[in-house]
Amino acid sequence: MKKNILTIMKKEFARFFGDKRLVFTTILMPGLMIYVMYSFMGNGFASKFNTAEDYVYQVYTVNLPESFQDLKSDEAIHITEIETADEAGAVKTNLENQEADLLAVFPADFDEAVAAYDSMTAQGAAPNISLYYNSVSQTSSTIYRSFCEIFNQYESALANKFDINAAEGEQYDFATEKDTTAEIFSMMLPMLMMVFLFSGCIAIAPESIAGEKERGTIATLLVTPMKRSELALGKILSLSVIGLLSGISSFLGTFVSLPQMMGGMSDEVGMNVNVYSGADFIMLLLVILSTVLLIIGMISIISGLSKSVKEAGTAVTPLMIVVMVIAITSMMGGGAQEGFYWYLIPLYNSVQCMSGIFSFTMLPVNLIITVVINIIYTLLLVGGLTKIFDSEKIMYS
């Protein structure tokens, strides 16, 4: 019994690994592509939110008051003081053309007006600074935000009653790198992993089962004294190993490049993949392996019922949509479910497990339930595939 399963597996591996192009496109490329893409996206985000270091902002001011004269000493800002309304009009045109970054218009006697103004008793409006900018221009928005910040600080400094988090060198935010990493990974990775695993499996299973049927090579196997169940099990096991390799490749690509991508999006996110231990990875591997077995089993059944690879590809689409929807549930956050019954639901249990592992909230019992239940489902699917191989109506119609 075992020997025939091994013979079939060896043949499937010889078929797959003997074809260098297939190995490259199924195993090496996904991880590499994801790594390159995510790193590229990360760098793209980073450069979008950060301006070149030696950039000098072109700022024009009207009636620059005494209190802000020291802005002129900032090397990153070049301030041109203008006098007339005509000149201001020209600067606005330049703003439109993204040639100037900011035009700040102060009231003529800004400092005095501010000193005289009391928000409790004043009748008229407070003195107003007009900041003209162009939100499409990266540099213009940046300097606009800085100026808003400067003026707001100045305003609060004038009437300082209390401060928040003023002590220097004090740590106020207790989110550690581990927490940040856990939060982002447990949201993103389960979804991405399900998608990667599914696409890895879909690349190989229809070809191996519907393809063999289409080409008439499976009939040659069916006239040998090998049991149908041995063929079904041999196929599913070998395809799962290949699917697993493809999944691991995608996982590594994502795992290594995701911090880069998230880091690029925001300066505050500190992520570190080293927060996960060997035990986490072993748990993850178990979940992924049992998930791949299940997915390969499902796609194999669909492929076995299809007449051609093309038909199998079409028939798998509804299953793919279901997998996507289930995968997205991890994005809703909240960590893993605790009730064991959630882990009886195939595919959803995998998403929950991965979410739990990445957020360090996985209960071992739920992990065991997931792996065992997935293996049981897979065995049922092996039984189904055996029935399909045994059915002359399906195999030779």
Partner: protein, 259 residues
């Protein structure tokens, strides 16, 4: 008395007809009887030929005997194993060759021979000796490491034939063995069938080629519309007139059509 190695007993097989097929054949019947209570036997060391026009049920009969499909009723016993109750026993005892059994393009004849030998449980020493002998006989040895995809049609068929014999079966079932082969390859195959016969193998062939029957068969069964209409030795059938004339005479009688 010669030993009976194959006995088919009242084999029946019906297929469902699609709506489209019903229109084409102008019939309202939903099923078509492909094989109708077919019985015959084959003895050790003889070549038994199934002769009949296209669609007579020859291939369906052979597919049932090779356990690719199951009979609706009836049974056949091949060297002690029943096709209905012990299909795996049958599979291990026969060699089956038909054009619908394809070999994977990606692999070489050498690899495939070893692969199928393993599935039949052939020991490596036996396998290597057998492979060498068969590959030499059919000139496959020089193409042993060429992928099936790159072989010529004739060479592919020879490889298929050799693969069907990896288990050195006592009973060999060949469906149209020389179809699509050029005259030289066809002769190699015909001569090989005679050699197998000399080795006391039982061979069952289906064909519509009279000359092939005349050349290799000991006994002939003529199938028309799923029924075995004549089953006798070649000598008895061709006692009065040539096989071809005799066949048309029988066909007219049974099918009621002027040929």
């Amino acid at each position: 008395m010669m030993q009976e190695l194959l006995r088919a007993d009242n084999l029946c097989k019906t297929f469902k007809i699609s709506k489209k097929q019903q229109r084409i054949e102008k019939t309202s019947e939903k099923t078509k009887v492909a094989v109708d209570r077919l019985s015959f036997c084959a003895y050790e060391g003889e070549v038994f030929g199934l002769l009949g026009p296209n669609g007579a049920g020859k291939t369906t009969t052979l597919r049932m005997l090779a356990t690719l499909i199951k009979p609706d009723s009836g049974d056949a016993v091949i060297n002690g194993s029943s096709i209905t109750s012990d299909p795996n026993g049958v599979r291990s005892k026969i060699g089956f060759l038909t054009s619908e059994l394809k070999l994977e393009d990606f692999f070489t004849p050498n690899y495939l021979f070893d692969f199928f030998s393993e599935l039949y449980g052939v020991a490596p020493e036996v396998r290597n000796e057998r492979k060498k002998r068969l590959f030499e006989k059919f000139g496959i040895d020089t193409f042993a490491e060429v992928k099936v995809a790159n072989l010529s049609t004739g060479m592919k068929q020879k490889v298929s034939l050799v693969i069907s014999l990896v288990n050195d079966p006592q009973i060999i079932i060949f469906d149209e063995p020389t179809n699509g082969l050029d005259v030289i390859t066809a002769k190699v195959v015909t001569d090989f069938l005679l050699e197998l016969k000399a080795e006391k193998k039982t061979i069952l062939v289906s064909t519509h080629i009279f000359s092939l029957i005349e050349k290799i068969c000991d006994r002939v069964g003529i199938i028309i519309q799923g029924k075995m209409v004549v089953c006798d030795t070649l000598a008895n059938i061709t006692a009065e007139k040539s096989l071809e004339d005799k066949f048309f005479e029988i066909y007219e009688e049974v099918a009621g059509e002027q040929v």
